[in-house]
């Protein structure tokens, strides 16, 4: 056989065969390990379970501080995460549950504890303030409103889920 009739030389053929087989073996070895390593990327995000916090009939128009705990799973480590919500009904009767984590630098805000600014959420760290519905007061440090918890009402009980940011400033 001469090379004129064939596009692939014997040397090339052997090269491709060896590299192909070698590549296949290397891939077979590495594939499980790479999939193992990138597992956190490919995990399906489990929607957090909603947690029973309080009875709907006890919710007033005044924000009330409620603590509740969420079951968290971190690999082989399972624990309860303590969370705080300020719960009230707005003017339209809609239930709102605010996360008290200041959107400035993450301190915990409190309701109505600053005599100079009644009926506002106030952050002790840098004087950030929010209106009753959690909207940040212009001219104070926070860049966005307080996050709100997902809410669900079932059998007269209020259930809270994940806290989510909301648009606007």
């Amino acid at each position: 056989m001469s090379n004129k009739e064939h596009d692939v030389t014997r040397r090339q053929f052997l090269n491709y065969t060896l590299m192909g087989v070698g590549g296949f073996m290397a891939a077979g070895m590495l594939a499980p390990m790479v999939r193992f390593a990138i597992d956190p990327l490919l995990r399906e995000e489990k929607g957090g379970k909603m947690v029973d916090v309080m009875a709907v009939k006890d919710i007033t128009t005044e924000p009330v501080r409620k603590t509740f705990s969420v079951d968290r799973v971190d690999g082989w480590h399972k624990f309860k995460e303590e969370k705080i919500a300020y719960i009230f009904k707005d003017d339209n009767g809609k239930i709102i549950a605010l996360s008290p984590v200041c959107t400035h630098l993450g301190c915990t805000v409190a309701w109505n504890d600053d005599p100079a600014h009644p009926n506002q959420f106030h952050c002790p760290c840098h004087g950030g303030r929010y209106t009753k519905t959690g909207i940040n007061v212009p001219g104070t440090p926070p860049p966005e409103p307080l996050h709100v918890y997902e809410t669900k009402v079932k059998n007269g009980r209020l259930y809270l889920g994940e806290e989510k940011p909301r648009g606007g400033a």
Binding site: M29, L30, P32, M33, R35, F36, A37, D39, L42, G75, W76, H77
Partner: protein, 223 residues
Amino acid sequence: MFQKLYDWIDERLDITPLWRDLADHEVPEHVNPAYHFSAFVYCFGGLTFFTIVIQILSGMFLTMYYVPDINNAWDSVYYLQNDVAYGQIVRGMHHWGASVTIVMVFLHALRVFFTGAYKKPRELNWIVGVLLFFVILGLGFTGYLLPWDMKALFATKVGLQIAASFPIIGDWIKLLLQGSDIVGAQTLARFFAIHVFFLPALLMGLMAAHFLMIRRQGISGPL
């Protein structure tokens, strides 16, 4: 594209002779299974190296999930084996590969012994090979404790009692390995450090010496 990239690097660094030196290295007829099939016994050294590469790779990946602490070690192994994708395979590679490595080392040593390849001028390489064997046994011993189950605990207790039976300094060796008066938290941390840092570093240094020597001296002649 790869050719261009290769040429660009080669033009500057002249890397071709580096791998050509290995690729063009002639394998003598008496060690080439293509000529004499029985020459497959000369593959055991290379196969040992291959299994060690698998051990190093799978071990590196296992440490992404494993935690060397008495409260979490077992749970982290359980988690990585049962909840992480391909965990069973990656841990299986490391677990079974450990035994295969020791079998391969043993077969390689038998081949060297029965072909008389350890004789002058290759005595030093035999010595390094025996040291490698001990390092690999050490890796097996320290790795056995890491899952922190009952088998791991009691096998290590037995192993440390054997170490303690060494004349005169036995109790010191045991305490040094155990790091505490019981097989516990400090033993686990210590074995982990030995298993993933000290012994692998020693292993790689000895392997480099092993390979440089065989390259320098060439493979021993036919029987």
